[in-house]
Symmetry: C2
Subunit: 255 residues, 2 copies
């Protein structure tokens, strides 16, 4: 099990639909800890958790500060069962956009990419190889609730994840700053509209040649200025939105 | 003056061309501190700094650990003069893409946006209103050298920055998740190709209505999934690359 902190994460955990890959885990929150102050601030939310049958324990601010991983805890802490699914469950949903993280180590980066993948309409994120644990509190936090929005897959090797994506009919594109094909290259436009898995490498050393070689195509986000590269989260945002734009043709939901 | 840590930052500081707005500051590095180990690892770089006449002091690893802001210092620490320019100097270069940060507080976010702005070919970044100090060590570090690549402007109010951009002939677009106009809207395509200043708000509360109202247009990065929003650095990456793509027509430099 893992901890989800703050009203947003608790709300998202509660609202999470049952996952096909993990039957029998009906209760999305196993236990909730709450301070008196937070209970009065989030009365409806706490009542909704209690209504699922999960025990709700009121604890002191001091104890919350001990349990919570944040510097300024928001007074709500949910114990949640793991929610990752097997890669087969992800594939069975006929995904059109998937993210494969290859040895992404920084939890803040991984959580941000998860959030961006959600925003771009991705069907799932695979934490492959030696990638960070998505249940890491910093990753949960930086995902801003997206951890509960789309299926995540853990514990697969990068090569196996890529093979599974290809078998499911997705083209595999590796984000690689040293590639000769640029993301804005006219030759890529049509391909971006097709089902795609994006492969992103480690934030410091990128994708080693053997992993980049697994992809159908290596694609660079073009550099128009003097920066050597983009950071991982920024590169992922540009790549995923290029796919989203091509796949949706500008038909997004606006408020 | 401020501190630039590590070989990359020192190299970029050294390679920085003279800024039009700050004449008479010929020496980009005033003083360099280096450990014995780093000196032998980066012999050419240290020699190049010494050749400019800047004093080079060898210090112990313990002292470096005290002076450096990073957990694992890389053994090189340069004292650099401030490099920001007046807004007039930025305008005089007839910029086609400018970033205006409106009360962006997190140094890591600000540095990442600066790096992304550089990559997208922006002509400068304005740290407006109550935005973080770009010389903050975390901002310098997360800019990955880009602080030294493009002009930065400090100490202007957001309204004044926007007015200056408009006077210089740039359209001002505010990134605002609640806007009805989406970034991929066909109606925006032509406008993105024209000189543009992007206005980005605080990472937590976005752009308040009075600041968003300063822009010619409020533009939302479309949300295709269930995320409530993108984080600042991801939204900025998507917006700035939309402009770069429209302005350059895919004619970026690839390695």
């Amino acid at each position: 099990m893992f901890l989800a902190e703050g009203p947003q994460a608790v709300r998202e955990a509660l609202g999470r639909p049952g996952q096909p890959g993990r039957p029998g885990q009906a209760r999305a929150i196993r236990e909730l800890f709450v301070t008196t102050a937070a209970r009065s601030r989030h009365r409806d939310l706490v009542a909704a958790v209690a209504a699922t049958g999960a025990p709700v324990s009121e604890i002191s601010g001091e104890l919350m500060a001990e349990l919570a991983q944040t510097v300024t805890p928001q007074g709500l802490l949910a114990v949640c069962p793991f929610i990752d699914v097997p890669v087969g469950a992800l594939i069975s949903a006929a995904p059109r956009l998937v993210v494969v993280l290859a040895n992404v180590r920084d939890p803040g980066n991984a959580g941000t990419v998860l959030r961006t993948a959600d925003a771009a309409g991705a069907a799932g994120v695979i934490f492959a190889g030696a990638s960070v644990d998505p249940y890491n509190s910093k990753c949960v936090r930086s995902s801003a609730g997206s951890l509960f929005h789309l299926p995540i897959v853990l514990g697969v090797q990068v090569a196996d994840a890529v093979a599974a994506m290809r078998e499911a009919g997705l083209a595999v594109l590796a984000a690689d700053g040293s590639a000769t094909l640029g993301l804005d290259d006219p030759g890529l436009a049509v391909r971006l509209g097709r089902p795609t898995a994006w492969l992103f490498g480690n934030e410091a050393w990128g994708l080693p040649a053997d992993l980049a070689a697994l992809a159908d195509e290596r694609v660079a986000v073009p550099i128009y200025g003097r920066a050597e590269s983009l950071n991982l989260a920024a590169a992922a945002a540009v790549c995923l939105y290029a796919s989203a734009r091509a796949q949706h043709g500008g038909a997004a939901q606006h408020p």
